[in-house]
Amino acid sequence: MAEFHTDSGKTPVLDVQELGIDFGGLTAVNDLNLQVYEGEIAGLIGPNGAGKTTVFNLLTKVYKPTRGKIYFDGKDTAGKNVVSINKAGIARTFQNIRLFGALTVLDNVKTGFHNVIPYSPITAMLRLPKYYAAEREIDEKARDLLKILELDRFADVTASNLPYGAQRRLEIARALATNPKLLLLDEPAAGMNPQETAELMDMIRFVRDHFGIAILLIEHDMKLVMGICERITVLNYGMMLAQGTPEEIQSNPEVIKAYLGD
């Protein structure tokens, strides 16, 4: 790993090696190397259609990679599926918001605790003491998360009726409920106004500090990306174009060319 910029003393939570996927004849992602270190906020940027969301789908096992390896927490993730990768500690949000529309905001977050605080359906049907203990814990933790993401006043609102910015924050709260080591945010600031984006930046930093997790985010809002990401990877046509600190990326002629054209 010597060729990559590394924070000395930190180990990679996520280590992607020569990752690639083909859809029929189309190579969507190719030869991608990417590391995310403990407690780091990393960014994945690139022009539209560069394959950023495809990378997220590969990391969360929605797609099986055609080539390459994904190591999470030092272990190869081959053979894991969408559910087991979440149990292993990768949580995500979606570019096109995917909430449980008919459930309340609080219940949306509570679904995130499915594997964190488990109890059996029999316990639920018979209302055994364990049910009450577990539900109390879930309720407390879910409300804590809502408070952190400033959603507590919406707790009893049906999710599909939330304002747009709050829906994005709710996705983050739900993902955090699964107790991840790595959080993948797919365009968390999309559709937000500058003030909301600024608040979101503070929130993302707070979440990282509070939970001590690593965050990898896709974002088009350069102010956000350059403002909070410690390291940025640039994708173009499924290939890695550049990798480095925000300053390095901003002055990289290749990146400027990819974004602005010749």
């Binding site: 969360t60 929605v62 969408v82 559910v83 979440n86 149990k87 949580a91 995500r92 979606f94 995917r98 909430l99 449980f100 529309g101 008919a102 459930l103 309340t104 609080l106 219940d107 949306n108 509570k110 679904t111 995130g112 605790f113 499915h114 594997n115 605080i117 488990p118 109890y119 359906p121 639920a124 049907m125 018979l126 209302r127 049910y131 577990a134 539900e135 879930i138 009893d156 609102v157 049906t158 009726n161 304002p163 739900r174 993902a175 409920a177 699964t178």
Partner: protein
């Protein structure tokens, strides 16, 4: 802001009130009917309908768990009732000599009926619930037809030597004192009628408890999450097919218990009773009562069973009126304009407008 304030009124208290309401309706209805039975002011027609109504209510509550809460269409609920009914009739017939008291035998038979129906549900669910789309509807539709054919051709008899069965004809000879439990197309005959209304009401309450306890728990949230957004549900670690299986099996078990009660309420029960039409009728109760709405399901089931009977005096026109009433209810409950008109009539909208302003 208009929107938010109206949404904020929808709280968990409202859900709780809905739950309490459904139990209250069942218990009050029971008390009223018991009083009417005691005073003899209930016609024989209605008193004969009491147990079937409780059976259909339980089957509909079960179906609502599957269709409303889990979001999977099931067109074979009558098939599961059929499994429960004939299993219970057989168990009751076998136990007739050993467990002479009616109620314990009824309970054992119902548990067996529910368990067998749940087992069939599990078998069907294994391949089907892995798939996305309306496959469950197709397979349960087929299941309903197949199970009807199976019971049409099932001959089961019991005598001093034990159980005899055949799927061709009643070719086996029973010892003197033996009796046929299932008789092919003629179904079960000579069943001891051990079902009663009180057990039916208890079964409704148990069904409500199971469904509500499941709905407002980890599993219930998972079931609803899988319904609302499959991809997001998987992303938070919810295994979709296992979750849907839980709802489907519980739904089948409730139908089985309901069928068992139904079967033990009549001395004769033919397999044709539980055909596709019955499945659709139960689905109509559920859709009309509101998907996911148990109180609505109870009310719509009772009304739609009683309606044709109340209209009996109109003879040929009764099914026509039944259809018109169905369409009217659907229009009123699903048409936004009619809904708002209804709300303005009842004054609920004016109140909402005031709080928004």
């Amino acid at each position: 802001m208009n929107k938010i304030s109206s949404i904020l009124s929808r709280s968990q208290d409202k859900q709780k009130r809905g739950r309490v309401l459904s139990f209250a309706i069942v218990i009050i209805a029971y008390i009223i009917i018991e009083i009417m039975l005691k005073t003899g002011s209930l016609s024989s027609l209605f008193s004969s309908l009491l147990v079937p109504v409780t059976c259909y209510v339980v089957a509909a509550i079960g179906l609502n768990l599957n269709v409303g809460i889990s979001g999977e269409l099931n067109l074979g609920q009558a098939g599961f009732m059929s499994v429960g009914a004939f299993c219970a009739v057989c168990v009751s017939g076998i136990l007739a000599g050993t467990v002479t008291a009616g109620i314990p035998r009824l309970i054992i038979s119902m548990i067996c009926g529910a368990a067998l129906a749940a087992f069939f549900g599990f078998l069907i669910g294994i391949p089907v619930l892995k798939l996305q789309g309306d496959y469950l509807a197709i397979v349960t539709l087929a299941f309903g037809q197949i199970i009807k054919s199976v019971f049409m051709n099932a001959y089961i008899g019991i005598d001093s030597e034990g159980l005899h069965y055949s799927f061709v004809d009643s070719s086996f000879k029973l010892q003197p004192g033996g009796k046929m439990l299932l008789n092919g197309p003629m179904g079960a005959t000579g069943t001891a009628k051990i079902a009663n209304f009180t057990v039916g009401i208890v079964l409704i309450i148990i069904a409500l408890l199971i469904v509500y306890n499941l709905m407002f728990s980890r599993s219930g949230r998972a079931i609803m999450a899988a319904r609302d957004n499959r991809i997001a549900a998987e992303s938070v670690g919810i295994p979709i097919s296992r979750t849907k299986m839980l709802a489907f099996v519980v739904s089948a078990a409730l139908a089985g218990a309901a069928g068992a009660l139904y079967g033990l309420n009549y001395s004769t029960l033919v397999p044709n009773k539980f055909d596709f039409n019955t499945s659709i009728l139960i689905l109509v109760y559920v859709v009309l009562g509101g998907l996911g709405n148990m109180t609505g399901t109870i009310i719509s089931t009772v009304i739609l069973i009683l309606l044709p009977e109340l209209l009996r005096s109109l003879q040929d026109y009764r099914m026509l009126i039944y259809a018109v009433v169905l369409i009217l209810i659907m229009l009123v409950t699903n048409n936004e304009q009619l809904k708002s008109k209804w709300k303005s009539l009842t004054g609920r909208k004016a109140k909402g407008g005031a709080s928004n302003g």
